[in-house]
Symmetry: C2
């Protein structure tokens, strides 16, 4: 852990940071149950365990004064008509925000609150997205190239993946007539705590 200022390079076209402490790779096998078409999921998995997305993180203490940060790369592709996407999560400390700067690609952020609100915002190079406290968020790649974003969030936020794993997001992004469309998630069901 560094206590002195540090820098790293973040340049196109690939935007892999020149320095990073963690490199997380999520494959299809790790997202069982998260896509809306189980048959399409199993058929794709039978062809191989595709790499869906990658995250490069810089280590900092998980404390409120720190700004955790890194790069997210969602690869292009679909499971049936549903685009490749991240698992998505709430923050464990619900009252924490996150900010994204889109570096490359085309996509969307799917978001919702525990209170019933939902939102979808398009991502394209040069666009900044602010995800306020309370909003779960998932990146979806709707394009033909990698969707690459730089992200930063408070050090004490934490990740709650379990809620989304169990109930999903209210909205899905699917391809219809060659274009992304927002549709209701037929399997969405609020879990009772």
């Amino acid at each position: 852990m560094l206590d002195t200022p540090f820098t790293f390079e973040l340049r196109g076209p690939g935007f892999v940071p020149s320095r990073h402490d963690n490199h997380i790779q999520r494959t299809l096998a790790s997202m069982r149950g998260q896509y809306c078409d189980p048959a399409a999921y199993e058929a794709l998995l039978a062809k191989g365990d595709a790499l869906l997305y990658e995250v490069y993180e810089l280590n900092r203490p998980h404390k409120a004064g720190e700004v955790l940060h890194g790069i997210s790369i969602v690869h292009p592709g679909r499971v049936g008509e549903e685009y490749f996407m991240t698992k998505g999560h709430f923050h464990t400390v619900l009252e924490t925000a996150e900010i994204y700067y889109c570096l490359s690609g085309q996509g969307a952020m799917v978001m919702e609150t525990p209170d019933g609100e939902w939102a979808v915002e398009a991502l394209s190079p040069g666009r900044v997205l602010y995800v306020p406290p309370r909003w779960a968020h998932r990146s979806v790649n709707t394009g033909a190239e990698d969707l690459i974003t730089f992200f930063a969030y408070p050090g004490h936020a934490g990740h709650d993946y379990g809620t989304i794993e169990q109930q999903g997001f209210r909205k899905l992004i699917v391809e219809r007539d060659g274009r992304p469309e927002i549709v209701d998630n037929p399997r969405w069901k609020k879990i009772t705590n």
Copy 2:
């Protein structure tokens, strides 16, 4: 104040955000006593109150879970041999960090802690700089174009400008033989609280 996700465009060459809530403009007159050469300062001011730097901010609550963010633009120029720069500050809550992503231009971040450490890191397009908790920071434009950075920091950080206004930074960035050089600040003096 928005409680729902929001986006804005941040694109070159100028990188003025398509949406912003505050536009701060700092001129030479607001930095009396901050440059090391008072005669050069007065001579330049006599020619007009030059615009040194601008900050575009997005409003969010000043709370720990938020990520305050915006764009800093330091214009090119010098006061004597010292490059145009921001006032620089500690965070009021000392144990809070800040992260910068350099979008355009050439410069440096001058940093120091209350404990006697100092650091200078170069800024150029594509470079990310992490300023850990406890480090005061000032952007310096050492190039011929605008130095433009995207910044993000914890919502509860606050700004302490007074300490730097009174004691300055330990190190200055000056032009010598046409190139930036780090030199001791002859007028640096730690204030006693």
